[in-house]
């Protein structure tokens, strides 16, 4: 009786077994799918951004044969004054019409001139100012093309689509083909992108201004948040008595770490800008807000680093007569420093990518000049991305993706540095 029962039970188990193994396999598959899905997305994000952004590192230039005749520069007495006030727009226009003598009507000339960037005249002016001997000579000068021409050359615009769907007319495309045939149009490395500030003209816009703004903001953040964060961690971990006061501080730090970043922006707007009257759009205010935001991250990481230093070190130091302060600053802190630095770098990387609080304190203005100090109006890299992403021109899409690539490169470099630091100095006690 008992035997048949157990045999029946075994049979029941065996019958269900296949089903249960299938369930097991299915469950495992869900896990693999989940991870694959997130990694596929990650890859998709990177590929989609770099495929639309890599073309921005090159730019189309047109070769003009520029005649710097003395007349344009005031005839006989050519001096700095006359050089800087000469009609460079006219020089560019003249060389274009010499290139295409068949273009005669006013309307057509206007269209022709629009193919060269409005920055061309400025470039030529700078060239002559740096080298006044050019006056009276004829030179071949490569000047940036307009962004529409750039898009066509890079293949973002279909030459065979109907006119109404293109931003360039068939006539313009014809001119461009002439230029191509004569080798007077080419793509070269886009230095403008790395050396200039923002611009309304996509072909003249660069990230240098935004990068400088980010640099100053991060400088303030680093100078303030690292010492303060380490100080707070040292106090809480090594000196603080266990009482309600320190509990309160701890709860505070944990909560601040999870407060939405935009709320820090509101704090900056209400306190730093409106109460203390600090300048709008200034990196120093951005740095202060970012400091408050990254402090919890640095404090938490620094405390973990201090905790990992074994008590025997402390006891040995105290045993040979060090005071508590000497024990901390001469023995514990140096051992915990790599861990703290890692935390600081990760906190800084997060601050570098942060946008929302900067919007609140006015770092979203359109700023052409490259900021030179902590109180100059400026933007930051992520904010520049946000601003360009809003622009309708096709050329800005490419710039946005390229700026994202630059930002991600910085972030990856910082995180890699943190990982290397951790690997190199990680100690198992």
């Amino acid at each position: 009786m008992n035997d048949t029962n157990s045999i029946r039970n075994i049979n029941i188990v065996k019958q269900g077994l296949a089903k249960r193994y299938r369930a097991e396999k299915r469950f495992r598959l869900y896990g693999v799918t989940a991870i694959t899905a997130s990694l596929v997305f990650l890859a998709f994000l990177f590929i989609s951004i770099s495929s639309s952004g890599y073309t921005a590192f090159q730019q189309t230039f047109i070769c003009l044969t520029v005649n710097f005749d003395t007349e344009t520069f005031g005839g006989d007495n050519v001096d700095t004054e006359s050089i800087s006030s000469a009609n460079y727009q006219g020089i560019v226009k003249r060389s274009l019409s010499e290139m295409f003598p068949e273009v005669t009507s006013r309307q057509e000339k206007k269209v022709l001139n629009s193919m060269v960037s409005s920055g061309a005249a400025y470039n030529i002016r700078k060239m002559v100012l740096e080298n006044p001997e050019l006056v009276g000579t004829t030179q071949q000068v490569w000047v940036p093309a307009d962004d529409d021409v750039d898009m066509l050359i890079k293949g973002h615009m279909d030459r065979n689509s109907p006119d109404s769907e293109r931003r360039l007319s068939a006539q313009q495309i014809g001119w461009i083909e002439t230029l191509e045939k004569d080798g007077n149009i080419r793509k070269q490395f886009n230095t403008i992108f790395f050396t200039s500030g923002d611009s309304r003209e996509p072909e003249l816009a660069g990230i240098c201004g935004a990068a400088a703004g980010s640099f100053f903001t991060m400088l303030v953040t680093l100078i303030l948040s690292f010492p303060i964060g380490v100080g707070a961690a040292v106090y809480l971990e090594e000196f603080a008595p266990k009482n309600r006061w320190t509990d309160l501080i701890e709860v505070n730090i944990n909560n601040l770490a999870a407060v939405p970043s935009i709320v820090f922006g509101l704090l900056g707007l209400a306190v730093f800008l409106n109460f203390f009257g600090m300048p709008r759009s200034a990196p120093i205010v951005g740095g202060l807000v970012m400091t408050l935001m990254t402090l919890p991250v640095i404090i938490i990481a620094s405390r973990a680093a201090l905790k990992s230093v074994p008590p025997s070190i402390r006891e040995a130091a105290l045993g040979v007569g060090a005071s508590q302060m000497q024990m901390v600053f001469h023995h514990v802190l140096p051992l915990a420093l790599p861990g703290m630095l890692t935390g600081a770098i990760i906190g800084m990387a997060r601050a570098l990518g942060e946008t929302a609080p900067l919007l609140m304190i006015g770092m979203v203005a359109f700023i052409v000049d490259i900021p030179g100090g902590l109180t100059d109006p400026s933007t930051a890299l992520p904010v520049q991305i946000f601003l360009w992403a809003d622009s309708p021109e096709r050329a800005f899409l490419e710039k946005t993706s390229a700026a994202i690539m630059v930002l991600l490169t910085f972030l990856i470099a910082m995180n890699a540095l943190a990982v290397i630091l951790r690997k190199k100095f990680e100690k198992r006690w």
């Binding site: 249960r20 369930a23 097991e24 469950f27 495992r28 896990g31 693999v32 989940a34 991870i35 997130s38 990694l39 997305f41 994000l45 989609s48 951004i49 010492p227 100080g231 707070a232 106090y235 603080a240 309160l248 501080i249 505070n252 730090i253 944990n254 909560n255 601040l256 999870a258 407060v259 939405p260 970043s261 935009i262 709320v263 509101l266 704090l267 209400a270 409106n274 109460f275 203390f276 009257g277 300048p279 402090l295 005071s323 302060m325 990387a349 997060r350 990518g353 946008t355 929302a356 919007l359 609140m360 992520p382 904010v383 991305i385 946000f386 992403a389 994202i404 991600l408 972030l411 995180n415």
Partner: protein, 466 residues
């Protein structure tokens, strides 16, 4: 010495003086020690006498320096305003603000709207003069304080001076000050947001704000305009936030949880050490990048595929923003859940295996129920992250506050509205800008509650197995 230094130069000078103070203090201690028979007769090592001098040189000077700079611009502005003619002085506050801004722009040499009147030029000169006076007096005062600090300590250095104890006490106070900054930040957030929000609720009643079904913050510029009285009902904005967060969580929770389970229960060491950092990259990508991606790649994709099925998808659909936000949140859910799953004692698993359970049965019936409080805590933290997320929704979600649960329609969120209300030209006292602070207060309270609950749940859970 130049009477008018810029603040950065002055800061460098203070630091230089303090370094000098260190060497002077140390030298002085040697000198004092020589008279009484070597440095063994000193209470502390010479470095501490140096440090003491340096600290007393730098700290008072730095405190004065910082306070001065913080309040300088406010005081100068008040002085300039009081120097204006009466008809300007009695302008309404928002006009006065504009005027002051124009004066500041003039001072900084920026472009101002219109031709500056002689009156403005006068005011700007006044501003500049006051600024110069202020900087000059700051320089003199700070340097005097710094030098006085050095001299006073020099005088008091003697072999019996307990320099080490003194220095250590000062350093300890500095450390305490560092750790209280977290508290001041919280107080600052609460006060600043609350203060403006209370001003808002004086104009728009709290009950109307919390129960109103319509949100259109555009106020009439002139009183005789029709139909733009502005309505501040927060429900549609709040529902939009909830809708997008719900979409995000329905992506992040299953994927994040399954990833965590796979990584902690199935994956071998190598796979884990590769997959985990890769997942965490998702958390490190700036949100503005996600926003760009959502607006330019995901939203058109959803729109087009919706078109195939004959669905009318808005180009700023809640679905696109929610989906991308969900992907951003995956690593938060997965790494927090990973921690709590790892904290489940191995004995529980072994018990289940001994009864003949398969791995998945053990996970579903033993590990996950045991880790549930911790998982709930991590999900709550992720929800609070989703609610507070700004850039993705600013770039990919819409502006119009529709009260709908349809993920294909446009909705707006609390953070989008805060940005929309505060970015760009604004007068600071209008209900429109104050509304942003009311929304900020709401956001702060909701995320605070979520965080506190989550932390308590996770802590309780940890204690259970420790």
């Amino acid at each position: 010495m130049g009477a008018n230094m810029n603040p950065t130069m002055l800061l460098v000078t203070i630091l230089f003086l303090s370094v000098m103070g260190f060497y002077m203090g140390r030298k002085r201690s040697y000198a004092v020690a020589d008279k009484v028979g070597g440095i063994n007769q000193l209470h502390s090592r010479p470095t501490y006498y140096g440090s003491l001098t340096a600290l007393w040189c730098a700290i008072p000077a730095l405190i004065v320096f910082c306070c001065w700079l913080l309040f300088e611009s406010r005081i100068i502005t008040d002085l300039v305003i009081s120097g204006l003619p009466d008809n300007l002085k009695n302008l309404p506050p928002d006009h006065l603000n504009l005027l002051v801004n124009d004066i500041r722009n003039l001072v900084n040499g920026n472009i101002v709207s219109g031709e500056p009147s002689p009156l403005m030029a006068n005011a700007a000169d006044h501003y500049r003069a006051l600024n110069a006076t202020s900087h000059a007096s700051l320089t003199v005062i700070v340097i005097t304080i710094a030098i006085a600090g050095i001299l006073v300590i020099q005088k008091t250095i003697n072999p019996a001076l307990r320099a080490r104890n003194h220095v250590e006490r000062v350093i300890k106070y500095i450390l305490i000050a560092c750790s209280t900054i977290a508290i001041f930040t919280t107080i600052g957030i609460v006060l600043s947001v609350l203060y403006e929000a209370v001003r808002f609720f004086k104009i728009v009643p709290l009950s109307g704000f919390l129960t109103g079904l319509e949100w259109s913050p555009q106020m009439a510029i002139r009183t005789d305009q029709v139909g733009s009285s502005g309505s501040f009902g927060v429900i549609p904005v709040f529902m939009g936030t909830m809708l997008i967060s719900a979409i995000a969580m329905s992506v992040a929770v299953p994927i994040g949880l399954m990833s965590a389970i796979y990584l902690s229960e199935y994956a071998n060491r190598t796979f884990r050490s590769i997959a985990k950092p890769l997942l965490e990259i998702l958390a490190g990508i700036p949100t503005v990048v996600y926003g760009f991606f959502a607006a330019l790649t995901v939203a058109p994709m959803i729109r087009n595929s919706g078109g195939i099925f004959g669905l009318d998808v808005s180009s700023e659909s809640a679905l696109a923003a929610g989906l991308v936000m969900g992907i951003m949140i995956i690593p938060f859910v997965s790494s927090l859940s990973d921690d709590v799953i790892n904290a489940v004692p191995q004995a529980l698993r072994d018990g289940a295996y001994a009864l003949g359970a398969t791995r998945s049965e053990t996970i579903q019936h033993v590990v996950v129920p045991a880790a549930l409080p911790g998982i709930v805590g991590s999900v709550l933290l992720a929800v609070s992250r989703a609610i507070g997320e700004t850039m993705i929704v600013v770039m990919a979600a819409g502006m119009s506050a529709n009260l709908t649960l349809n993920p294909l329609k446009t909705v707006t969120t609390v953070t989008v509205q805060i940005v929309a209300l505060l970015v760009g030209d604004q007068e600071f006292d209008s209900p429109k800008t104050l509304a942003a602070f009311a929304l900020g207060l709401m956001l702060f309270i909701v995320t605070l509650i979520l965080n506190v609950v989550a932390l308590i749940v996770v802590k309780k859970y940890r204690e259970q197995y420790e």
